[in-house]
Symmetry: C2
Subunit: 301 residues, 2 copies
């Protein structure tokens, strides 16, 4: 998986400071996670092909997480998109998109498949042999979900030495990749485990924005490779964090530590802070492997 | 009047190419004309004080003219706005703003006064002693208005030599400024015309975007100081201009020439053109005093 940060600001876009938006590439699938105002300009700047975006995930309906969506949807049409677009978002967004289209007497040449999220418990929203996506119910002022992305590795890689030794036929190679045993022409059974490498462990990325400090999510993100957790405030503004149902850098790091994740990315920084190095400093007290969601940064997961 | 170009692109915002938006300053009133996606970032870049914007005029409900509005409205709240905001726009926009606010469970600490435009003939929408604003019905794919802004100069300036000669009282000066005659202590009548300078001519700016070539507007903009007229295409794409109900640079210049305006500004350039110098070249065949609506350009009117 490859995660590209498009924006990490909170509340309102500024020059060189777009609001929350990320592109996650999983096995040639390009997923857009949240979509702040003007994000289509970031996609151009970072040379991300608009037509490759197949799914958009919207955490919640505060403007800094979705005001760029209607513009992006329009631009898709202008660019000649024909392939389906899946949108996973809280209920209500479809009505808004439809009203925009109605007022502008516009149409789309592609199909939007809306998946209205309403459940307050974790739901599997995508599950196939390549990947899965589950919601992570968060605790914010309005209905909000994080998302847990899993990249699956179901195909076994066969040891090169064994391919040479047994000179497997193509159909046998396919069976071995799927984990099955095969038989040689003379009837000898070749056990799968004897010729394949260990199955690559699936990898997981969790996106958690926006949320108050919420220990309920720890079990849902246990031991994952990478966690993005909002940290709108520093501890010095913990009163504001409580009031607005956001997290501090310390709280994000405590969650990362308790969940034993591999890496923590902090973002959704309040505009009141000029320098974000203090977020790193504060988080590192509780969790060492921590990074800032700087615009344009690419994280390999 | 001072006109600042925030964006002049058509259809979709790109890096350094925002869509149609302008700020017109008339006598300390800051009017925002159209509001493309991300325009709040341009306002910051050009150091325009958000709180000074008292009125927003939206020509029509195609996304490149209003997708930045909901974001700007939200940012006004975050910045602590309390003063009224007047929005002059086609009917329907209010419903959209209200739906956005409802879905995000947001509120505003200031009042939006919507002025829903529906008339297909010219209407006076603002008229006071300082200025007036009238609609200019345009001919586009959906209901569209241009806007005619007039800066009024009602106060006479009194000749310095006469002030010295007659030693007018303050109340007499006020009367003279308003165009009235006054009487000296000895009963002598002083005719207004004998002591005041000629009244400064009012100045007019017309914003006309988007529209097919439309000679009906010529009489509405006759002899004004400055005309902004869209020119989405060059003549080489006049078929596209007809089909999409836009104008070419030639057509914009012909309108400017027929209306005998002082200055023509071209904008709303299609993204297909890399170089906009050809718009100038083409327009100059029909009208000499022509300029491009380059981002950040300020026109004194």
């Amino acid at each position: 998986m490859k995660l590209t940060i498009l924006g990490s600001g909170a509340s309102t876009p500024k020059i060189n400071n777009y609001t929350t938006s990320q592109i996650l590439k999983i096995k040639n699938n390009y997923f857009l996670i949240d979509c702040g105002e003007g994000i289509q300009m970031q996609l151009r700047k970072l040379k991300i092909n608009f037509s490759k975006i197949s799914c958009i995930f919207i955490s919640h309906l505060h403007g800094d997480h979705y005001f760029g969506l209607i513009g992006l949807i329009s631009t898709f049409r202008l660019l000649g998109r024909v392939s389906d677009l899946n949108i996973y978002a809280p209920k209500g967004l479809q009505e808004l998109i439809n009203l925009h289209l109605k007022l502008s007497q516009s149409w789309l040449n592609y199909r939007i498949i809306f998946h209205a999220l309403t459940s307050k418990s974790q739901k599997i929203i995508i599950d196939n042999s390549d990947l899965s996506v589950k919601t992570i119910p968060l605790n914010h002022r309005i209905y909000t979900n994080g998302f847990l992305f899993e990249e699956k590795f179901n195909e076994r890689n066969i040891k090169k030495s064994k391919i040479k030794e047994y000179n497997f036929k193509i159909e046998d190679l396919k069976k071995l990749k799927k984990g099955q045993d095969v038989y040689l022409d003379d009837g000898t059974k070749i056990k799968n485990s004897a010729v394949v490498k260990n199955l690559k462990k699936s990898k997981k990325y969790a996106f958690c924005s926006d949320t108050a400090y919420n220990t309920n999510i720890i079990q849902l993100i246990s031991s994952i490779e990478c966690l993005y957790h909002e940290s709108t405030f520093l501890e010095s503004h913990s009163d504001l964090a409580k009031k607005t149902m956001h997290s501090t850098a310390s709280e994000a790091a405590k969650i990362a530590s308790a969940a034993n994740v591999g890496k923590l990315i902090l973002g959704h920084f309040s505009n009141r802070y000029k320098n974000q190095e203090n977020f790193l400093k504060e988080a590192k007290i509780y969790f060492k492997n921590v990074f800032l969601a700087n615009e344009g940064t690419i994280f390999d997961i």
